[in-house]
Structures are given as structure tokens and as C-alpha cells.
């Protein structure tokens, strides 16, 4: 309990620090923020109006506190380009990105966990080697290229097999769930294959550590076969470690997700943030960056908690820091 409280306190403090960093990042732009946002050939009156509208004429500490107070009330500001509230805009985009990441993660687990076990347990050496090589190559591919290869194979239009759409989200969004899901298949497959390949290596490594352990010997001495013990005891004991890896993988999936969203022209958080940045819609960018940072810190926090819950040895102890850490950028 004390650990939970302390860890949460750190989370809040880190978030405050990051908010300050984001605030500063937006304001140390070369040139004046209002004129950058208004565009190159904007008349001075327009720049002036924008400045007072966004409160950019007030002192910086004042601006920061106002922003924080707005955030606390759930007001994330308005997009300059579309005039829509940033929270609504982010909500719409999240409805594309989260299903995409969720589906990708599911595919990754469906591929990664069994194949990771296979690369250790297969009785034929050439099967083990083949699976291992596939894992290394799959995890070394740029997401962009993986997506291109899948387009070449499966997409309607330029693909060999012509099954899945490769451009854009379903017209009606989630009101036509079948179509929406259909348009996410190729992008999610791209993410899933690449993340799955890394997950395979982690599963293999974690299980290999377990293989020689006393826990496995004990389970086998009680009457389990080697395979049974590995799947029941080994996988269970490696679980906290795998949860940590999955958590970090999830954080890094956003990079891959951004690339994939752009490649497949999906209106998600990543592609949206990049286009907002390109459009110099900086007030929206500021709030979006903050929301993403808050989200990922929260995921990290939850992963730490799950890690502790999954391991009775840690539940009793009060020390911070969860064993593994693996950072795999999938770009």
C-alpha cells in the first residue's frame, strides 16, 4: 500500500515535470508563437487577435497555470484549424488507434507466445532454428517496410491477392463495425507481426531461464512432463517479466502505430498529432502531447502494479523497481 502511494506520487510529479517541458517546448519556438500559428502571410490584426484569444500576451507563469487549471477541469482547448474541442478530436482519433493497437497486441500475443515456446520446445533442431531466425528478422524490420510488404501481398489494388483494403478507415466509422474492423486488418497485422516477433524472443529467453530452475524440477518431480511443466509453471513464473515486457512493448507500439496509421491513411492519434504539428496547430499539439504522456505514464504505473500482484514474493516486499526492462522501438 505504501509502495502504491509512493509510486503514484512519483507518477504525478513526473507528469507535472513533463507538462512543464511540453509547455516550454512549444514556447521556445524560433519566433513568436501567435505569428507562427497564424501562418506566414497573416495580417498583423489576425496575429494580434490570436494572441489575445489564446492568452499569449500574458506572462508565461500565468499562461502555464491557466493551462494546468484548464486541464484539471477537463478543458483541453480548441483546435485552431477545425474549431473542434481537442478532447472530442482526440476521442475520435483514439477510437481508431486503440482498436488498432489492441488488435495488434492480440495478434502479437497469439503469434509470440506459442512460437516462443515452440522455438524452445520443438524436438527438431531445424524447427527451433527456423523459428528463431524468423523472430530476429521479423523484429528487425522497419514497420513501414513490413506494412509495404503486406500491401504488396494482400491489398486490393496493388496487392497480389487483393483481399484487404489498404487505404483509409471505413466511411461510417464504428457505426459499420464489420467494415471498420476489415479496414484495420492489414495495419494491425503489420503491428502484430513485428511486435509478435520481439515478444517471441522475450518469451523464449524468459522460458529458457526457467528451464534449468528448481521450480521446474519440482513440478516435474511431482509428475508433470517437461512440456507440461514449462507451460504451466514456467510460463506462469515468467508472467510478471512478460507483463513488464508487454507494457513497454505497448508504449513502443505507438511509434509503429503512428507509422502504420500514416501508411494506411487511418485518422488515428499518431497521424493526427503529426498532421497537427505540420499544420502548426500548436495549442492542440500541446494538449495532445500531455494526454499521451499521461496515458503512457499511467500504463507504466499499472504494469508495475500487475507485476507485483502476479508475484506473491513481491507483494510482501516493499522495494520499488520491477525486474526487467526492454525497450524495442518499432518504427
Amino acid at each position: 500500500m505504501r509502495f502504491l502511494f509512493r509510486r503514484f506520487l512519483i507518477l504525478v510529479m513526473t507528469l507535472l515535470g513533463l507538462s512543464l517541458l511540453i509547455f516550454v517546448a512549444v514556447r521556445i519556438l524560433p519566433g513568436d508563437l501567435a505569428s507562427v500559428m497564424a501562418g506566414l502571410n497573416a495580417p498583423p490584426e489576425r496575429v494580434e487577435a490570436l494572441r489575445s484569444q489564446l492568452g499569449l500576451d500574458r506572462p508565461l507563469p500565468d499562461q502555464y497555470l491557466t493551462w494546468m487549471a484548464d486541464l484539471a477541469r477537463g478543458d483541453f482547448g480548441r483546435s485552431l484549424l477545425t474549431g473542434r474541442s481537442v478532447s472530442v478530436q482526440v476521442g475520435d482519433r483514439a477510437a481508431v488507434t486503440f482498436p488498432l493497437i489492441g488488435l495488434g497486441l492480440l495478434i502479437a500475443m497469439v503469434i509470440g507466445l506459442p512460437m516462443g515456446c515452440l522455438s524452445l520446445l520443438a524436438s527438431k533442431p531445424w524447427v527451433r532454428s527456423l523459428v528463431h531466425v524468423l523472430a530476429i528478422v521479423g523484429g528487425s524490420m522497419p514497420a513501414l517496410w513490413g506494412g509495404l510488404l503486406l500491401i504488396l501481398l494482400f491489398s486490393r489494388g496493388s496487392g497480389l491477392l487483393g483481399i484487404f483494403p489498404s487505404q483509409g478507415f471505413a466511411q461510417g466509422g464504428w457505426s459499420t463495425p464489420g467494415k471498420a474492423l476489415w479496414s484495420l486488418v492489414l495495419p494491425a497485422l503489420t503491428l502484430g507481426l513485428i511486435i509478435g516477433a520481439s515478444l517471441m524472443r522475450y518469451t523464449r529467453a524468459a522460458l529458457a531461464d526457467m528451464l534449468g530452475s528448481g521450480y521446474m524440477d519440482m513440478a516435474r518431480a511431482c509428475g508433470m512432463t517437461r512440456t507440461h511443466a514449462l507451460l504451466r509453471v514456467g510460463l506462469r513464473l515468467a508472467l510478471p517479466q512478460l507483463v513488464s515486457v508487454l507494457g513497454l512493448t505497448f508504449a513502443e507500439m505507438i511509434t509503429g502505430a503512428m507509422v502504420v496509421e500514416n501508411l494506411f491513411a487511418l485518422p488515428g492519434l499518431g497521424s493526427g498529432l503529426v498532421s497537427d504539428l505540420g499544420n502548426r496547430d500548436l495549442i492542440a499539439v500541446q494538449s495532445e502531447l500531455f494526454m499521451l504522456a499521461a496515458f503512457f505514464l499511467l500504463v507504466g504505473f499499472l504494469v508495475d502494479m500487475i507485476h507485483r500482484l502476479a508475484d506473491p514474493r513481491l507483494k510482501a516486499a516493499g522495494e520499488g523497481g520491477s525486474g526487467t526492462s526492454t525497450r524495442q522501438v518499432t518504427a
Binding site: 528448481g214 521450480y215 518431480a221 511431482c222 509428475g223 517437461r226 513464473l237 514474493r313
Partner: protein, 270 residues
């Protein structure tokens, strides 16, 4: 259950671990396997449990209850383990599954081998806790919440819950303090006595062994260098290695001196 090992050799990656080892254990008999660390004594128990690493190569013969089991399928061996052969490991903290409660750990062999109802299993677990001298309240505790001595008692309970005909104790006292050592030895002695099972007791320490077994094999660098009555080995060790081990045990007992006579004045009846 009788155990007969003939000319067992094991090598891992070209390195010989066991060299032509032969060992006999009659039904109901208790035999010790003594040797310094690295002598390959644990490897013998692993070999006939089928727990050798996959890279290991074994040759010779291991007969359990008259059946050859060396090279038997993993399925066959798994059916023997836990049902006919119970094993107590050296370090309970590194072998008891940390995510299973004591109750679940104790009943694991029952679940794997017998078709019992939940209630029946639970009853047997509680009865076993009584036999082990553990309070029934630890049934729902995790191993990490128990002391080393308590953990090892759970380990013994897990090995004995199915009333196997052969018990292997692989240095069960090495990881414990001296008081827990005594308790564990007495417990093991009593429970094995009650069940009438055979016992193979692996250790590096004669002073522990003589309390529980009558026969011993002395192992050094993968070879059996001496075998016979423990009493005889203690009074007149033939091989150099046995002499060293006996001297070490005598010195320890003298130094600790549990108010007992120095070896070999005391006789064990088993």
C-alpha cells in the same frame, strides 16, 4: 520399491559426470549416497528421475521395481514421478512453486496422478500438515511467508503425500540451519518409517546420514569409491576420499558437540 543401477555413465558436452556407477537399493531399504560437492551424486538422482538436461548423454541401466527406465519416454517417467517416486529437494526456497499456496503445493502430485474430489484432496493436505507438525493455518500461506525449516517440511509433505514406494532426498538439510536440520531428519525418519518406503538419501555429511541410513555408497569424481555399512565405513574407511569425509564429519560433531559422544560411539537402529 527396489532400485538397481548398473554401469551408469553420464556425460554433458563431452565431460564425464558419472563413470560406470552401480548401486542397489532393496525394497524398504535405506541407502545413503555420500560425496563431496561436484562428485556427481545429484546427477544420479536426476538421471533416474529423467531430469537430466537435454544435452546430457546417459548409458548403462536403471531398473526401478524390475523395469528398465533409462531412455523411457518422458510420459512414462512423469507417470512414475510423484506417484511411485517422491523427491525432496535441496533448497525449498528455490523449488517450491512461489505462486502456489502450501495446500496447492501439497496436493499437486494428487491432482496429477489421482482422480480425487477437491474435498478429499483438501482433507489429505490437512492430514499431511498434522503429520508434518505444521499448523493447519499455513495451508493458505505462500512459501515465501514460511521459514526455511517450515518450507522444507512442506517439501517433504509434497514428496510423501501420494505414499510413494521410493523416496529420494537430495541434500534436504544442506540449506538449513542446524536446528531445522535435526527436525527435518527426524521428520523424514518417522514418515519414511510409517510408510515403509525405500529411501535414497544424498548428502555430503556423514554425521547427518548416520542418523537415517545404515548403508552408504561413497562417490568421488563420478565414481563409486566405497560401499557398505555406514558403521564399517565410519570405523575403518578404506578409500582416501571416504577417510576425508569421515574426518570432516567427526571434527564437526566434536566441535558442535550436541552433548553426544564423538563418532562412532552411537548406533542407529533403522
Amino acid at each position: 520399491m527396489s532400485l538397481s543401477i548398473k554401469n551408469l555413465s553420464v556425460s554433458i558436452g563431452g565431460k564425464t559426470i558419472l563413470d560406470q556407477v552401480s548401486l542397489d537399493l532393496a525394497d524398504g531399504q535405506r541407502v545413503g549416497l555420500v560425496g563431496p560437492s561436484g562428485s556427481g551424486k545429484s546427477m544420479i538422482t536426476k538421471a533416474f528421475l529423467g531430469l537430466l538436461p537435454p544435452r546430457a548423454q546417459a548409458s548403462g541401466s536403471i531398473c526401478l521395481g524390475g523395469k528398465e527406465i533409462l531412455g523411457a519416454s518422458e510420459r512414462t517417467l512423469a507417470d512414475l514421478r510423484g506417484a511411485y517416486v517422491g523427491t525432496v529437494f535441496q533448497n525449498p526456497a528455490a523449488s517450491l512453486n512461489p505462486v502456489l499456496t502450501v495446500k496447492k503445493q501439497l496436493t499437486l502430485p494428487l491432482r496429477l496422478h489421482y482422480d480425487l474430489s477437491r474435498c478429499e484432496r483438501e482433507e489429505r493436505a490437512l492430514a499431511m500438515l498434522d503429520k508434518l507438525g505444521l499448523d493447519r493455518s499455513v495451508a493458505n500461506a505462500y512459501p515465501s511467508q514460511l521459514s526455511g525449516g517450515q518450507q522444507q517440511r512442506v517439501g517433504i509433505g509434497t514428496a510423501l503425500i501420494t505414499s510413494p514406494r521410493l523416496i529420494i532426498a537430495d541434500e534436504p538439510t544442506t540449506a538449513l540451519d542446524s536446528i531445522s536440520q535435526m527436525m527435518v531428519i527426524e521428520l523424514l525418519d518417522r514418515l519414511v518409517d510409517q510408510s515403509g518406503a525405500s529411501l535414497l538419501f544424498v548428502t555430503h555429511d556423514f554425521s547427518v546420514l548416520r542418523r537415517i541410513a545404515s548403508q552408504a555408497y561413497v562417490l568421488d569424481r563420478g565414481k563409486v569409491v566405497e560401499a557398505g555399512e555406514i558403521q564399517r565405513i565410519l570405523t575403518s574407511p578404506q578409500s582416501l576420499e571416504a577417510q576425508g569425509l569421515v574426518a570432516a564429519a567427526r571434527e564437526l560433531t566434536l566441535a558442535v558437540g550436541h552433548g553426544r559422544q564423538p563418532l562412532p560411539a552411537e548406533e542407529r537402529t533403522s
